[in-house]
Each structure stands twice: as C-alpha cells, then as structure tokens.
Symmetry: C2
Subunit: 304 residues, 2 copies
C-alpha cells in the first residue's frame, strides 16, 4: 500500500522527463522479468535485458510476458552480462543499471572497471528510500549507507553524503536536510564519530555543500521528532525534519534498514550511487511494490 503511494508520488516526475532505459544485468529470473514488465506497463522505464536470451524468452513465456517488449542481448556469464549492461550505459543507451540474478559485487566490479566502466569522481555508496505510514513520519526518509561502505573515514563520509544529497535533489527536493546519526547530540571524545560529525556540520556551515543542511551528531529521535528534540532543547532546520539519515557505519545503517523493513509497513527502495548511473538493487524477498519503487528511484536519479 505504502509502496504504491510512494510510487504514485514519483510517477508524474518520471512521466515528465521522457522515457528512461534501464539495463538489467543477468535478467534470466522470473522476479526480475515480472518487475521489468510491470514497470514498463506503468511507464516507469523501458528495459534492455542482458543474460541468457533463451532462458529469458522461456521465463517470459511462462509469465505471459511478450519478450518483444524488451531489447535482449545475449551474455554467457554474469560478469559478461554486467559488463555489457555497464557499457550500454557508458554508450548513452541506458541511464540506469539494474541487478538481476547475480551478485551485487559483480556489477560493482564492472561499473568500476577503469577502461570500460562508468566511474565518476566519487566512490560508490548505498542509499535506501523509505516511505513510512504518515503517523510515523511526514515524508520519505533516505538512509545511507546500509550496504556498501563498512566503516567510512572522514573523506568517505563526505562522499557518501554528497552522493545522497545529489540523488535526493534529482528526486526533486530543493534543499535536502541531512542528519548525521550517533548515539547522542553532544560531541564526546569517547565517541570519535561525534567529533567527525561536529566537523562535518561546521564544514557545511562554511559552504562545503551548498543547497543542503547538514547537522550532527544527532540521535535518531531528534532527527525525526520535534517533540523529542524539544526535550533536549534543540532546534534548527534539520531537527525533527531530516530527509537523509546518514549512519556512521554499515552496522548502524544495516540495523536501521532492517528494522524499518521488518518492523514497519514502510515501502522501501534501494540504489547504489556515485557512478555515472545509479545501480538499482532489488532482492527476491522484496514485495512487488518495493521492487517497482527501486526501479522508479533508479530511473529518476541522475548519475554523477
């Protein structure tokens, strides 16, 4: 339900910018092909499918999907499918990559290939979008990084934040509000991450990243609830109104991501950012709505 609401909010924007093409690596999978067919039907994107073409045709037949609606390109291995999908983007024929039935690392490797890849100036990072029921939060929440970067140092933190701010801007948000999440609001030398977050907040005030607000350290409650923040005497643009939740490491990011998917009815989508095109990640266990949401995110987000 929430996935469909979240999707409906993105559709006008998608339809306003001309049909995008998504290049799917290792597409011979019923879940993947079903989502691609549905996304095409809804006008979210067109698809170029890389993989075992015979198998793709068979699966399409089983699903009652006309394979003629897709561009099909034979690739004998996952690595080959990933390279071909990446090169489709590099040649300007697609604006996003989608992971099919292969490892995320296979796609990342192809995307980062120095000669044939789609590297940009920043490193890659993961960003998830959550649309929570309105009683819990009043707008979409973007969480980074739950899946790619393990324990980012200061420079990598900056890149992850820049990736997320750029992505959220290409989704139509003029001035994204970034909360840097720690266990409390005061800088504390015993919690090194609070000092780094203090420094990032000052850098933002000094003009590091124009067109956004960055604030930390904040515990999650103060980032998403004015009421919680009030009991601690906090105010400012990010307080209780964060768009982007930056987690200090993969353990915190992943536990937040999983908590939102397991314990709430939030709609969720996920992409990898930082290359010249976003990489759409869906997993088998995602609901149909969540898969479409990830595809819509990937179709809307501009590469670097």
């Amino acid at each position: 339900m929430f996935a469909i609401d979240a999707l409906n909010n993105l559709l006008p924007r998608l339809r306003g910018q001309g049909k995008k093409v998504v290049a799917v690596a290792a597409a011979a999978d019923a879940h993947v092909l079903e989502s691609a067919a549905r996304a095409r039907e809804l006008g979210i994107a067109d698809f170029a499918l890389f993989g075992d073409v015979g198998k793709i045709k068979d699966i399409c037949a089983g699903l009652g999907v006309d394979h003629g609606l897709f561009e099909l390109v034979q690739a004998d291995t996952d690595a080959c499918a990933a390279s071909l999908a990446v090169s489709h983007v590099a040649r300007g024929k697609a604006s996003a990559i989608m992971k099919g039935l292969c490892e995320t690392s296979t796609i990342i490797k192809a995307a980062l290939d120095k000669e044939h890849g789609i590297r940009a100036s920043r490193r890659l990072s993961h960003m998830a979008m959550f649309a929570l029921p309105a009683e819990f939060y009043h707008k979409p929440l973007y969480v980074t990084d739950a899946a790619v970067n393990i324990a980012p140092d200061f420079e990598l933190m900056k890149e992850i934040i820049e990736n997320a701010v750029n992505a959220v801007k290409s989704l139509g948000l003029a001035e994204p509000k970034v909360a840097l999440i720690a266990a409390k609001e005061k800088s504390d030398p015993k919690m090194p991450v609070t000092l780094e977050f203090d420094e990032l907040t000052k850098l933002n005030e000094a003009g590091w990243l124009p067109g956004c607000s960055v604030r930390g350290p904040l515990a999650l409650d103060c980032a998403v609830s004015l009421e919680a923040a009030k009991t601690k005497g906090l105010d400012g643009p990010v307080i209780g109104d964060a768009d982007i939740i930056f987690c200090p490491d993969i353990e915190a990011g992943n536990v937040l991501y999983k908590s939102l998917t397991m314990f709430t009815k939030a709609a969720a989508g996920g992409v990898i950012l930082g290359a010249k095109a976003p990489v759409i990640l869906t997993s088998r266990s995602d609901s149909a709505g969540n898969k479409l949401l990830s595809i819509a995110l990937g179709a809307l987000i501009k590469g670097e």
Copy 2:
C-alpha cells in the same frame, strides 16, 4: 495499548514473588511520583523515595497522591540521593534503583562506588525491552546495549551478553536466544565484528554460557524473520526467533532503539544491568505505560 498488554504479561509473575521495593534517587518530580503512585496501585512495587522531602510532599499534594504511601528520606543533592538509594539496596531494603530527576551517570557513580556501592563481578550494561504489535514480532525483543557501553571489546561483549541472558531468565524465559547483529551472516575480515561474533558463537557451542543459544553474525532480518532467513538458507534455534538482539556498538544499538520507539507502536522499557540490583531508567518523554513497564522490569529482574 501495547505497553499495557506487555505489563499484563508481567503482572502475574510480579504478584507471585512478594512485594518488591524500588529505591528512587532524586524523586522530587511529578512524572516520577505519578509513575510510582500508579505502579504501587497496580501492585508492581513499593517505593522508597530519596530527595527533597518537602518538595516531594508538595508535588504529591498537587497530584492528589498520599505521600504517606511511600517511605521518604531527605537528601540534599542528587549525588546524596543516589548514594542513599544505592545503600538502601546494599542493606537489603530494596531490590531495584530507579532514576528520578538526575543524570544517569550520578546513579552509576554511586552504584559503582567501591566501598558503598552495589558492584557485582560484571560491568554495567543497558537492556531495553520492546513489545511489538504481533503482526511484526511474536514475542518481546530485548535490545542491548543502546546506552551505556560505546564500543565493547570481546570481553565486554561477553559480559553484556551474560547480563542480558541472566536478566531475561529472571523474567521467566528458560532458554534465551541471543542474536549477534552485524550487516551480514558471513564472517568477513573486512568487518572485524563478524569474526568476534563467530568466536562468541563457537564459545557458546563449547559451553561458555549454558541454558541459552548464541548465534552470529546475523543481519537483523535473519534474527527475527524465518522467511528472510530461508532465502539465505539459514536455520537453527536463534534464526527468526531471537529474544535478545545484541548490537556491536552504541551507534547500532541506539539507532535500533530509536527506530523502534519512533517508527513503531512498540511498548518499551529500559534498565541498567550488571550490578547487584537493576537500575530502572525512565525519561519524561516516555508514555505512562512505558514508564510502568520499565518499573515492572526492574522489579522482576534479579541483581547479579
């Protein structure tokens, strides 16, 4: 609603073990006195109140609460109130301490005092209880450590787990299931915590902590959902059925705690474990039901 359900599950056990006394440090606060009066009325515990007795009597009068129902002891400062409350427990006159209107650190300092404190053999740790709506989880979930220990090393991890296992056992659970939460299920030298969790799992198999199951590394979804675990081919007693969620550091623990309090309707209670008596933590912003739940936890959990 969920707080009351969760409380109702604990009440028979509370009533079965004779009236407990809770010693409240810095009790001159309307929120604290209201919860104490309500908890007494429900038969959860009796209370000894340490603080500014004149003020306590005034606040009770304002609330329409008979101060004669409590034992009142004058203390001129927070530190003094904390010491007296701790010594009340040390002399066997109370079985739990409750934080009133003072810093948690003031109570911890008094509890850990080498001469007059209530130190036991292990270090202190925080444990929260969450009762989620049944559609999201089928039993209470205990999260540790969201508030006390910042980045525990291997030995401290063991102590935090032992504290939680003992506490949950004194709540009536015969064989607690402990999930060690990381970002994935495979050991990975790039994520040092996964190696430690692997080691803790092996230690448990070798008999380190009898009467419980310990399993990690696990991402949160595999700890609480059989369905999620199945897609990764996992099984075993902890999988999809965890009681205790052990987080690798305070950032992960705190973001999970805050996510559950902000984005779900879960009832929540919190205590500090590891001393000869539990320390009950409530905060002003807790709902009345959550405050009672924390008090009930503190009244039920046996000290070390």
